[in-house]
Amino acid sequence: MKRVEPLIFDLSSPGRVAYSLPAVDVPAAPLERLLPAGALRGRAPRLPEVSEIDVIRHFVRLSRLNYGVDLGMYPLGSCTMKYSPKINEDAARMAGFTELHPYQPEETVQGALELLYQTQCFLAAIGGVDKVSLQPAAGAHGELTGLLIIKKYHESRGERRNKVIIPDSAHGTNPASAVTCGMETVEVKSDERGGVDLDALAAVLDEGVAALMLTNPNTLGLFDENMRRIAEMVHAKGGLLHYDGANVNAIMGITRPGDAGFDVVHFNLHKTFSTPHGGGGPGAGPVGVKKLLEPFLPVPTVGRDGERFFLEDDRPQSIGRMKSFYGNFNVVVKAYAFIRSLGPDGLKRVSEDAVLNANYLMRRLQPYFDLPYDRHCMHEFVLSGRRQKNENGVRTLDMAKRILDYGLHPPTNYFPLIVEECLMIEPTESESVETLDEFADVLITIAGEAKENPDVVKSAPHDTPVLRLDEVLAARQLNLRWKKG
């Protein structure tokens, strides 16, 4: 297989076209008479000139250089890449959903509004919250929305609170989101069981705390048993709690953050609810809140009046808008189909099997790697490559790259930051025991190679479309676009 595909610009040949459009069928004055001369484009943009077959072959060839969940397992901790059911795709491609303009009269989009309304309700039920906004476009956007809601709540009470407490195991988006809403972050360390250290928490809690953000299960894959206690401690000081929903895949029908005292819960539809990631987006990051925060939700949400569904704009205390229109509707269609396909018992089974798969892999791999937290995990777990690094000079990065040679995708690595040489593994419920065994066998083989033939691991990958790429060169000699030669 040819592995280097030329840039589309290099396939260009002047005069070729890949489009077909009609001639102008109305009287057409010269452009200069319709628009001021100074407003007109001089030189045409240097877009490629190719025919249709060039377009198709170029992009199909590029697609073949990609790994995707339809090709194999993605054990990416905290990134939850489960299988994306095809019926969801069929649904999302129905013209009755794709060819709707956001400003159509409400009576012409009742089916779409009902779907949005129902999804709001389903997510509220899953999170144990009262009302959900589907507007945020991604998980980090949902975090930002949640924190802005919290900021507005404190403002409405005439309070200026500026601190957001974040555990040291949190995703990088948590502190970045806090800063985006003008707050300072205070990090609390984890205790030896991997949960929030309650003494450390008590020491930083005061009347300046706006919120605590918690991912539970956390990024170590461990359930923080003190969830309710943490909520009580933060509430006692007047702060609120934001639940980062990156790991909801572990808890559906098992525990609900709203019931444990959390005020804001965000969801990642592209993780838990099976909408595909598309190479990095689009996702969707709906946010649910308890009653007391409803007035501050972004506008609009979808309301119901008997059999009629409508956009609710009238929320004077709202934080405003987080994006244009109503959220990533087409992503919501897929999540809706997933929820309807599984029902309440199926969703619970998803979480059970996700947890079962993670524990199974953890126990199969435990003899070969360091296991920093030896307790039952939830949907994911972390291993450390400390042993391989110290004894064989093989880093986790090398092992991750070696996994590629076996045709599989590596786990998340070097995150969470609190575990040395970390490998963070989340198999999801999609994978069969045979697939899990295959993955475990590959890791065990690589652990053996690290001892016996470390160089083959350190120089990996050997069998991929490109070999290890020079990131330093990429940073030093920035080349971020094609330029005419």
């Binding site: 057409a28 990609n66 009755g96 970045a176």
Partner: protein, 446 residues
């Protein structure tokens, strides 16, 4: 259950390997007090045929822009989608791929991101593009935040003619950072340069202008650029990418940031999302840019390849010091945009733009001859224009709807002083026959 491959025998065997006897044991860390004892309040599972029937029924309760003749614009456009776009975007290797964190097995995504960036730079005449953001509104808001950081000022100026929802998002983001927004009033559908002059003081971090603006009118961008820079601020141009087939690109009138809604480049309307925000800037501001970027490099054999570049700006490395909290792009939408621009090429983009321009002007000139409807503004425009109606806007919309025409939207929704004004958009998909029919309906006053 078809998405859950385990048989009961598998589960039993796995529990044995783990060393527990029941599934329950794995959840021992969840205290009784926070266990959910009920059954989730979602409807019972549907089989595939039942689910398809249900989804078709929901979809059938929507009227599409294919069933009707649509004049809806205002930030989302029903441009024609060449068939190749969906065929490429439906490749499993693209849509079921994760973020390209392992570049060796993500060259498809990374190269298309790089090509997308290159195509956008060419179209916009800008130096650098990121690999896309959530949508046009958030891209504009991020540009304002960066401007404040870059100039160490606390105020963003935005033209009142910028899309109302962009301005709402801008206000939300700016309030979040405890920053201020000032709006520049319009006169006759375009920004009032004289009054802008007075409002653009030395405390302004940037000026955000949309060109063509929400009303479809061309803004005096060259004068506004001079004002923004004279005040020591940055100039942010929001543009309609299709318009750049005929309009001067923002790189040629001094934009520091050029942003916008990329939906019209190969993406379905999808009732408002997902879309893609494009975000481009000058080389000078490159390191301030939020979002993912693909960069070219070499592999261990010296062969060309692509990686995520400038990652040290991003949250997963910089945490609270990141340029933005953004953690994803709209990669699949950006892929569609790249395929669209490749398919159209330099001639196609000009052709589409000219079709929109001429058809919109034809409709505009015909409406100008009507008695109860008149174009509201006289400024030059591209593919949209505002019509002042002597009839209530709601009646016009519902009257036309009965004839399977989607008019609007009602501009008065966003600008209370423009009550009974409608924003008409004409894309290349409208035919002369349809335009004549619309005029006849308006002439007969519905």
């Amino acid at each position: 259950m078809k998405y859950l491959p385990h048989t009961e025998a598998d589960r039993k065997k796995m529990l044995e390997t783990i060393g527990v006897s029941r599934m329950e044991d794995l959840f021992a860390d969840i205290p009784e007090g926070v266990r959910f004892k009920g059954r989730l309040d979602v409807p019972p599972a549907l089989s595939d045929p039942e689910l398809m029937r249900h989804l078709r029924e929901l979809a059938s309760r929507n009227r599409t822009v294919d069933d009707y003749t649509s004049y809806l614009g205002g930030g989302a456009y029903d441009h024609f989608l060449p068939s190749v776009v969906d065929h490429v975007a439906s490749r499993n290797e693209f849509y079921t791929a994760y973020t390209p964190y392992q570049p060796e097995v993500s060259q498809g995504t990374l190269q298309t991101m790089y090509e997308y960036q290159s195509l956008m730079c060419e179209l916009l005449g800008m130096d650098v593009s990121n690999a896309s953001m959530y949508d046009g509104a958030t891209a504009a808001a991020e540009a304002a935040l960066i401007s404040c950081r870059h100039t160490e000022r606390k105020k963003a100026a935005v033209a009142a003619t910028v899309h109302p929802e962009w301005r709402q998002v801008l206000r939300t983001y700016m309030w979040g950072r405890d920053l201020e927004v000032v709006e520049l009033p319009h006169a006759g559908g375009v920004t009032d340069v004289e009054r802008a002059k007075a409002l653009l003081g030395p405390d302004v971090a940037c000026l955000i202008v949309q060109h063509p603006n929400f009303f479809g009118c061309l803004e005096p961008v060259e004068e506004l650029e001079k004002l923004a820079h004279a005040a020591g601020g940055l100039f942010v141009a929001g543009v309609d990418p299709i318009s750049l087939g005929v309009l001067k690109p923002p790189g040629e009138y001094g934009a520091d940031f050029a942003v916008g809604e990329g939906q019209s480049l190969g993406n379905h309307l999808n009732f408002g999302g997902p879309y893609l925000g494009f975000f481009t800037c000058t080389e000078k501001l490159m390191r301030r840019m939020p979002g993912r970027i693909s960069g070219q490099t070499l592999d261990a054999n010296g062969q060309r390849g692509f990686v995520l570049a400038l990652a040290t700006r991003e949250q997963h490395i910089r945490r609270e010091k990141a340029t933005s909290n953004i953690c994803s792009n709209e990669a699949l939408c950006a892929l569609a945009a790249a395929v669209y621009l490749t398919t159209l090429g330099p001639r196609g983009i000009k052709h589409v733009a000219e079709l929109c321009l001429h058809k919109a002007h034809y409709l505009h000139d015909r409406v100008a001859m009507l008695e109860r409807f008149k174009p509201a503004f006289s400024a030059p425009f591209f593919k949209e224009f505002v019509v002042r109606s002597q009839l209530p806007a709601g009646r016009v919309i519902s009257g036309l709807l009965e004839d399977r025409i989607m008019a609007g939207p009602d501009v008065g929704r966003f600008y209370p002083d423009l009550k009974d004004h409608l924003l008409f958009c004409v894309t290349e998909r409208r035919t002369r026959e349809e335009l004549d029919h619309l005029v006849a309906r308006l002439e007969g006053s519905l």
